[in-house]
Amino acid sequence: MEAWDIEARGLTKKFGSFTAVRDLTLRVPRGVIFGFLGPNGSGKSTTVKLLTGLLTPTAGDALIAGEPVTVENVAIRRKIGVLPEDDALFRALTIWEHLEMSGPLYGLKREETESRATQLLRHLDLWQERETYVEQASFGMRKKCALALALLHNPRVLFLDEPFEGIDPGSSRNIKDMLLTLAQKGATIFLTSHILEVVERLVGQYAIIIDGEIVCQQTVEETINAGRTLEDVYFQFAGRPAMEELAWLG
């Protein structure tokens, strides 16, 4: 039997009468980078929140390494690292204080926390800005800080919601290399992104979600073997918004 690191069984989330995610079922094996694609408002971030316990599903189950994801299951949260949609940072703390605070919560000693934090911030080109308050940090700096927090405790499963959004090309390259190395070492990575070229080069498997439902799930290899690109598949399902003639512009 294959070991699934991430598993969703009939996951559904309703907000009042609106269904954000409908009967979502997916399985991600260990050591795979999984791309989760879809247009804005299709349910990507809600799915990430359901899989990480930030939201409670209306129906269905989310499992990480075979264990159910619930708010009471603290052990699960030690296994996962999350870069959420909203970064989830404390605005009045500095970047360094975030890392300094988080390490001990995951059982890291102070020296170990400082050593890992230093390396991570250098890798993400954030070392010089470590004393910047989050509320004064740029969008990209906040993203990198949240990414460093997700990685600090060396999680088995990583959830990254739009990790390349607002990141400069140099750091973006570093992050991509780091993710590939992590996956080679056995970590499972679940990432959402709108940058299809990056996803195509990085992921092994992907799924496309439209209006809360998965409409396509396959490996990148299958796509290439069919003589298609990820962009072709994406537009086949997601389509393109109609172009308006903005004659008044310019």
Binding site: V71, R78, D86, A88, E97
Partner: protein, 487 residues
Amino acid sequence: MAGVRLILKYQWKAYWRRFMRAGQLTQSDMLLLLLLGALLIFKLPPVFRRAARELAIGQTVVMDQLLFALAAAWLYPRIEIAIISINPKDLIRFPLTINSMLLVRIGSFFISPAAMIITAGSLLGALPLHASPRPFIGIAAAILFFVMAASLGLSLSHMMSSAALRIRLMIVTAIVIVPLGAVLFAGGREAPRRLASIVQFTPMRLVTSAATAPNYRTALLSLMALTGCAALALLLLRWSFSRSLSDQETNRPRSNRAASLIRFPGRLGGLVRKEQDYFRKLPTVWIGLLVTLAYSQIFWFGAPHPVTFQAIILIVFSINMALSTNSFGLDEPPEINRYLLFPLRGRDILLGKNLGFVIVVWLQLSVTLPFAFWRLGWREVFIGLIEAAALSFAYMGWGNMDSVSAPYKMRFYRDSGGGSIFDALIGMTLCSLPGVAIIYLTRFNSELLAVKIASLLALTALVYLGSLHFAGRKFERDRQKIISRLS
């Protein structure tokens, strides 16, 4: 002007939408407001009549008191910005002049129901002046006085938004409040009389002296002085507003930060430090410190009655009440998400917040301890510490349940503005009970004192542990509701 009107229209919509969504006016609040309203309707007319009778014969005591209460109410802008939806700083992107933005700012303030009530109350409060010897001059003076008070209130709010002005304001406040508080505390029962004599030297006295002046020349002089004060207040309003727009919060080097007051050991240390960081950005924390500083001054002149020491502990806890009863109030929704991502149970998060609260309040109290030890002796200090411990348990016990049941938004550098008045009154009464009980036991019922106090302490500790457990579970269960109320 069209732009100002348009923004105010949307400000109005956004304010009320937020007000209704946050459920800030609960049914119990409505009941309490009705009761208060009824009390005001039945209580105020006799006060107005008395003020009018006094003014008619040239006396001003009641009218002075009325004006003092209204001036205090106009300081309300320090609170109000917590629930204003469009921040004045966000208006910079629009092609508006500073004066237009200031109009938006002033207009936005009057959107809130509390501001409407204060305005209506002020206009009603000016009514008794019609019975004074110079009614028109008196009413004109009252209006000028309210303009001045409102401008000062709004200016204060702007100054709190600017890092540089905030520090200066705090220094000035400390210089004024500490000696003033010391004089009042030392006065004991004489305090109200001393306060009344201080009021004689404030602009509100100009209103009553204009209304009761023996001749037109004196009345006009008072009116001119008030006009000057109001003009100065308006200039201050314009200046403070433009400063608040242009001042950016600057990055301070860490070595200058007073944040890490106490480094709490253990895995929750970082969370406790974060809470201290957040709490020290609330004016109430500094007000509590100023109160203890002011009280401590009276020890220089001799030993006060020990009950005043116990009373000051009660007062300091009540000043800091919002820190325990609304522990998530300073957290933005993404910050709540971060708590949920940490490998912590709800009770651990609340424990971190409680420890932050205890450290901050006990630091405020620590100012008086050496003085109390010096003048009152170790026994009174020990009883005071027991009282503080019992109050800590009570405030955190009630506060944890309140924090997860009815959280409301708070902002840095603003007074806590929101939450249920009903809950606050019940909370303050219940949480103060252990302190009141200890005062009663030590002063009037000292038989088996140690046993009684130990039992009381154990009971409050037990209540606290229970609340930590239940509130922790409730936080885990209702996290989305909490996020929604804080958004």
